[in-house]
Symmetry: C3
Subunit: 183 residues, 3 copies
């Protein structure tokens, strides 16, 4: 079994399926866009295992505690790993993490964004180790996020050359273009 997936299995973690957007919402972009050895990862949020948006929703400092935000950021890492698995075929193609942009739906005066986004960083570091898992990061407070999710995270990872894995690279742009949902 591949190394990273083995680590997930050891922890009893199952990655969620593709994101199920709310009815009537079209998301015409790639959840992962592979360009050379860069994989650009779209903004992800916390999902349930079936791909639906996880509860609780709302703002930190109003509707959620820091611990709930931390848990939401950890779920967001799982959501992202699910997209990466579908895009890359094998999570071991991830050479290292590069950039993490952590956005926290923030009520007035809430300024503990780093403690929330640590739910993402801690998990990635645990799974990939201190070298491959290291990443530049920002953790900031947004006025609003789509569908009222408490956390949204965008990222970039470095992936093994296409030459090493041409077949999986071909399917690397996970897209839901044309997958319309009428409300």
């Amino acid at each position: 079994m591949p190394k990273i997936e083995n680590r997930l299995a050891e922890r009893g973690i199952v990655l969620p399926g593709p994101m199920r957007a709310p009815r009537g919402v079209e998301l015409p972009f790639s959840f992962v866009r592979v360009v050379g050895n860069r994989a650009l990862i779209s903004g992800h949020g916390p999902q349930n295992p079936d791909g639906s948006i996880a509860e609780p929703r709302g703002k930190l400092g109003v509707d959620l505690t820091v611990d709930q935000g931390y848990a939401a950021a950890r779920l967001t890492a799982l959501s992202m790993l699910g997209s990466l698995k579908r895009a890359l075929g094998d999570l071991d193609r991830i050479q290292r993490w590069v950039r993490v942009f952590g956005m926290v739906n923030s009520g007035p005066g809430f300024n503990e964004q780093p403690s929330v986004i640590n739910g993402f960083s801690d998990f990635i570091l645990e799974l990939f180790g201190p070298d491959a898992g290291a990443h530049a990061r920002s953790a900031v407070g947004m006025a609003e996020l789509p569908f009222g999710i408490p956390v949204e995270i965008e990222a970039e990872v470095e992936v093994a050359d296409r030459a090493r894995s041409v077949k999986s690279a071909r399917g690397s742009n996970v897209s839901n273009i044309g997958r319309r949902r009428s409300g």
Copy 2:
């Protein structure tokens, strides 16, 4: 006629001129920064054909409807294509879209950012097709945006090697450094 510009002409679309900042505002950065085969695109907003900031301004959920936001995001794509044309010389140098970061000026409780930024994504996909036009994307809610614009979008595209087009690459960093406007 180059392919992309032909598609614009077929649709009767004329790209706006360089951004005209409000009086007294200095913008000492490059609208497009080309580094190797990456073109990093500064935050753009909706413009009128003469380069001035397009109306309506304000917040989604307060001052603008989703349809008005969608139209503003589409205008932002035109603004960005205008900068790319001036920076690259030829829009056909764009090999593919990479990353789109869509920021929506959001009033309290507005969480339909994806439907607003679709005005940008839909147009780019229509113009560049599903392969070159695909992009990773985030669509998020900002507290405020410069000059009260409803939408600001930052992006990155992959461009053809300088070797293919040395002359245009030389002028690739569209800058307005030194172009001061005293109020």
Copy 3:
């Protein structure tokens, strides 16, 4: 003396030490992440010379004037240069600036984000000159920022190949993983 550090010395500028996070806050990420010839720079804020968070804190348009915001953005550039010096060994390894993402803690109706972030851009352009210092930029309004800082800036620079400076590249990921602070 290296060129950029000479320019800082001429101006009597001393770069601040590593960021001292508030008690109890863990920041498990790299302030600079070097990947090939890209250096990804985490969100930085204004620091005092001893590494603590600089005052004043708060929101533009409520707690700080544009001039105070401009000064905070300039301090943020110094903070970032401090991290880059520790990560790269020598600031002259910076070939050019690429991308600057400027986030302004914004009170209701404040929309002069560009004039605030100019405190960063003006200083970088003064120090690195119009070619190496040029950068793509966004300047936008956040609902909240960590610890109530008025400005946070994320960036990317291009650095000289590792081959030119293997020794300094080895220490290039400035990290504070494992440096816990118990509150």
